[in-house]
C-alpha cells in the first residue's frame, strides 16, 4: 500500500492558483523529488500534505486513510526555513523534537551521539545551538527530522545551504532511510540531486505538473534528441539539415538539439560521409536540460 497518495490536489490563494491538479503516489522505500522554481507550489503542496492548510480540491491519503493524529509519530518534516531555539543545547533541542514524535528520553540520549557522528556535526551534545555554524545547525535539524525513523519523510529544500561534502552526506542519509523502508519526498530548485537519489520526480510549474514519472521515464519521454559530435564540418552545413533546432559549440565538440530522434540518422550520414570521426553520441536530454526546457516553455 502506498505510504502517501496525492490525488488531484488544488489550492488557490485568491485568484492565484498555487497548486493545480497535482497527482502522485509514493511507496515505501521510494524517494520522490518535487522540483520547481520559486513559487512553483512545492511548499504549498507539503503544507497540504501536513494538514496545515486545507486543499480546495482533491484528496490526500496516508496509507489509504485521511490524516489522523496517529500519523504524527511516523512523520519527519524539515521545513523550508530552518529554525531552532538558539538558547537550547544540541541535546535538549533534538530531545524536544524527538519526544514530540513519541520517542523515549533515554533512547534519544543514547542515539544522539551516533547521529552527530553520522552527519559529521562538529558539535558536542552540550553545545548551545547559537554557537553552531549554519551548516551544523542545519544538520542538527536534519537529525531531529530523522532520529525517530519516520515512515514518511518530507524535506523542503534539504540541500540548500549545504557544501558539496554535506550534500553527499545528506544523500547518503536519505538513501539509508530509503533502505530502511522509509518513503521520502523532498523539494529542490533544480535537478542536480535528482539523478543520484530520486526514484520518481514531479516537476511543478506555476502549480501545474509538467513532468511526472521515474527518472528514466521522464528522460525517455523526450527521446534521444541530443547529439554530441566532434567533426570538422562547418556548422552551417549541420544547421542546414531539417530538424536540427539548435547547435551549441562546446569545448571539443558540438551539441545539436533535434526536433525529433529520427533526425539523428541524417546527422550521422552527413558527418560520417568522410569516414572516421572520434565522437558521435545520441542521448536523451539530461534532467537539467529537461528542467530548463520545461521551466522556460510557454504556458500551454
Amino acid at each position: 500500500m502506498p505510504v502517501l497518495m496525492v490525488h488531484d490536489l488544488v489550492k488557490k490563494f485568491g485568484t492565484m492558483t498555487a497548486v493545480d491538479h497535482v497527482d502522485f503516489t509514493l511507496n515505501p522505500g521510494e524517494i520522490l523529488g518535487l522540483i520547481g522554481q520559486n513559487g512553483a507550489g512545492k511548499t504549498t503542496t507539503f503544507r497540504m500534505i501536513l494538514n496545515f492548510i486545507e486543499p480546495d480540491q482533491g484528496q490526500i491519503r496516508w496509507q489509504g486513510q485521511p490524516f489522523t493524529q496517529a500519523q504524527y509519530n511516523q512523520l519527519g518534516y524539515l521545513p523550508e526555513e530552518r529554525g531552532l531555539f538558539p538558547k537550547m543545547t544540541v541535546m535538549d533541542q533534538i530531545s524536544y523534537f524527538a519526544e514530540l514524535r513519541g520517542m523515549k528520553r533515554a533512547t534519544i540520549r543514547a542515539e544522539v551521539p551516533r547521529w552527530l557522528d553520522r552527519f559529521a556535526v562538529k558539535a558536542k551534545p552540550t553545545d548551545k545551538i547559537r554557537d553552531l555554524s549554519k551548516g551544523n545547525a542545519q544538520k542538527i535539524q536534519l537529525i531531529a527530522t530523522l532520529i525517530h525513523h519516520p515512515k514518511l519523510i518530507i524535506l523542503d529544500e534539504p540541500f540548500s545551504g549545504l557544501d558539496p561534502v554535506n550534500v553527499s552526506l545528506l544523500r547518503e542519509g536519505m538513501l539509508d532511510m530509503k533502505r530502511e523502508g522509509a518513503a521520502i519526498i523532498y523539494s529542490d530548485h533544480n535537478m542536480t540531486n535528482v539523478e543520484q537519489v530520486s526514484d520518481q520526480l514531479v516537476m511543478l510549474r506555476q502549480g501545474e505538473m509538467v513532468l511526472n514519472g521515474t527518472v528514466d521515464q521522464v528522460r525517455q519521454q523526450f527521446g534521444r534528441i541530443k547529439v554530441y559530435v566532434e567533426t570538422t564540418l562547418p556548422q552551417e552545413q549541420l544547421a542546414a539539415i531539417p530538424g536540427v533546432v539548435r547547435i551549441t559549440p562546446r569545448r571539443h565538440d558540438l551539441e545539436l538539439t533535434l526536433a525529433d530522434e529520427a533526425v539523428g540518422r541524417e546527422v550521422f550520414k552527413l558527418v560520417t560521409a568522410q569516414g572516421y570521426l572520434p565522437e558521435f553520441s545520441q542521448q536523451p536530454p539530461t534532467l537539467e536540460e529537461i528542467f530548463k526546457l520545461k521551466a522556460g516553455a510557454d504556458h500551454e
Binding site: 496545515f52 486545507e54 509519530n73 530552518r82 529554525g83 531552532l84 531555539f85 538558539p86 514530540l100
Partner: protein, 430 residues
C-alpha cells in the same frame, strides 16, 4: 509521556529558569525587604532622648522625683540629682539635655540646657509635665480641696473617630491612619497585579512569536495537534503562576513566626506600630479572593496575549502585538490607584465588574474597603465565565494564525487571519 506534558514541561521549565520569571517572583519580596529595612532603620535610630531633671531646692525634690521616669518622649537619668552632675554627664554625652526646676516667690521656673550635638529635647512634653507640676504645687500651697484640685487638673477631653462601612452597612471605627494603610494596600495590589499581568502576557506572547519566528512552530505542529499545543502552553503559564503564589505562601508561613519571634522581640516599636493598623487586604478571605483574581486575571490576559503573539512573525514584534492589552491593563491600574485613594464614583463601581479591568480593580476596591467581599466574589465569577469564552476564541484565532507569515502590519495580519477563519468555516459547511 503524553504530548501535552512534553509541551507543558518545556514551556514551564524554560520560563522557570528564565531571569524574567525569577525577578518577577523576587521583586515583591525585595520591595518588602527594602521597606522592612527602612522601617527598622527608622525605629532603630529613634533612641530615647536622655534627660536629667534636677532641682537645687530640697522642697522641690519630691515633686521632681514624682515625674515619670520614662515615657514615649524621653528617658530620665534618675541617678543625676544635681545640676553639677548633670553638667558633667552632658559634657560626656551621657545626656542630651537637662532641666533645672527652681521656685522664687512661689513662682516656678524651669531652665533647659541641651547639647547641640544631641537629640532635641521634647519640650512640649516636658513643658506640659512641668505645668502640671506647677499647678499641683500651687494648689497645695493654696490648700485647695482634693476635688477642686482634680477639677483644676483635669485636661480637656478630645476624641477622634473615622468610620468605614462594612458589608452590612454598619459603621466600623477606624482611625485616620487606617485610611492611609488602605490606600497603600490597594496601591500595592494594583501595582503588583499590573506588573504580574504584563510580565506573564509578555512571556506567552514572546513564547508564541519566537516559535513562529524560528519556524519551530511548523515542526511542532507536524508533531502534535494545535489544540494540544495551545492548552499545553496555557496550563504551563498557569503552573508558573501557581508556583509563584506557592513561593509566597511558603515564605509567608515560614516568615510569620520569624517576624513575630525575632523581629518583634528585637524591635518592639515595629510591633506596636503594626498593631495600630488592621491590614484589610491581609484578612484571610480577602487574601484568597485577591489570589484567585490574580490567577484569573493573569490567565485572561495570557490567553489574549497568546492570540496576539500568534499574529506576528518575530519576537521583536511580540511586545508591539500586546500593546492594546497593555493599554487596558494600564487603564485598570490607573482606576485601581484611584479606587485605592477612595475615589468612589459610579464609573469605578461598574468597572470593578468588567473583565480585564476587574482583576486589578476589584481586589483594590476590596482592599480599600470600598467594595464588599461578596461583591468581589460575584465579579470573580463574571471574570471566570469570560475567561472560558476568551480561551475558545483565542484558540480559534491561534489555530488560524500560527502558520501565516506576513510582513504586513498587525491590522492587516488580523484581517488576513479573519479571512482564513471565515473561509474555513464556509468550507467546513456541506
Amino acid at each position: 509521556m503524553s504530548k501535552f506534558r512534553i509541551v507543558f514541561r518545556q514551556v514551564y521549565l524554560k520560563n522557570l529558569k528564565s531571569g524574567t520569571y525569577i525577578w518577577m517572583v523576587l521583586a515583591p519580596l525585595v520591595f518588602l525587604l527594602i521597606g522592612g529595612v527602612i522601617t527598622i532603620g527608622i525605629v532603630k535610630t529613634q533612641q530615647p532622648v536622655n534627660v536629667a531633671l534636677v532641682t537645687p531646692q530640697a522642697e522641690l525634690a519630691p515633686l521632681v522625683a514624682s515625674l515619670p521616669k520614662k515615657n514615649d518622649a524621653y528617658q530620665r537619668a534618675t541617678k543625676i540629682t544635681t545640676e553639677a552632675q548633670a553638667k558633667q554627664a552632658l559634657s560626656r554625652s551621657k545626656l542630651d539635655g537637662y532641666a533645672v526646676l527652681t521656685s522664687q516667690n512661689n513662682q516656678m521656673k524651669v531652665s533647659y540646657v541641651s547639647r547641640a550635638s544631641g537629640q532635641g529635647l521634647p519640650f512640649s512634653t516636658l513643658d506640659a509635665q512641668f505645668n502640671q507640676l506647677s499647678l499641683q504645687y500651687q494648689a497645695e500651697r493654696l490648700q485647695l480641696s482634693g476635688a477642686a484640685l482634680q477639677t483644676l487638673l483635669a485636661p480637656i477631653k478630645t476624641t477622634q473617630t473615622t468610620v468605614a462601612f462594612n458589608d452590612q452597612g454598619k459603621a466600623e471605627k477606624r482611625d485616620n491612619n487606617q485610611q492611609v494603610v488602605n490606600t497603600i494596600v490597594a496601591t500595592a495590589v494594583s501595582v503588583l497585579m499590573m506588573m504580574f499581568i504584563m510580565m506573564y502576557a509578555g512571556m506567552i506572547a514572546s513564547e508564541v512569536a519566537a516559535e513562529k519566528g524560528t519556524r519551530i512552530m511548523e515542526i511542532v505542529l507536524s508533531s502534535i495537534n494545535v489544540n494540544t499545543q495551545f492548552i499545553g502552553k496555557i496550563v504551563a503559564i498557569l503552573a508558573l503562576i501557581m508556583t509563584q503564589l506557592g513561593v509566597y505562601v511558603v515564605l509567608g508561613l515560614v516568615g510569620k513566626p520569624l517576624v513575630t519571634h525575632y523581629l518583634f522581640q528585637a524591635f518592639p516599636a515595629v510591633k506596636s506600630m503594626l498593631s495600630n493598623f488592621k491590614l484589610p487586604g491581609l484578612a484571610a478571605g480577602q487574601l484568597v479572593l485577591t489570589g484567585l483574581f490574580l490567577i484569573v486575571g493573569i490567565m485572561t490576559y495570557t490567553v489574549l496575549a497568546a492570540m496576539l503573539g500568534s499574529l506576528v512573525s518575530t519576537v521583536e514584534q511580540a511586545q508591539q502585538a500586546i500593546t492594546p492589552l497593555s493599554m487596558v491593563a494600564v487603564l485598570a491600574y490607573i482606576l485601581g490607584i484611584m479606587a485605592g485613594n477612595g475615589v468612589n464614583n459610579p464609573l469605578i463601581k461598574v468597572t470593578a465588574f468588567v473583565p480585564l479591568l476587574s482583576p486589578i480593580l476589584a481586589p483594590a476596591r476590596v482592599s480599600a474597603e470600598a467594595m464588599s467581599v461578596s461583591a468581589g466574589w460575584l465579579s470573580l465569577l463574571i471574570s471566570v465565565v469570560v475567561l472560558v469564552l476568551l480561551y475558545y476564541v483565542s484558540l480559534i484565532f491561534y489555530r488560524a494564525n500560527v502558520l501565516v507569515y506576513s510582513d504586513s502590519n498587525l491590522w492587516q495580519s488580523w484581517r488576513a487571519s479573519w479571512r482564513i477563519l471565515t473561509n474555513r468555516q464556509r468550507q467546513s459547511r456541506p
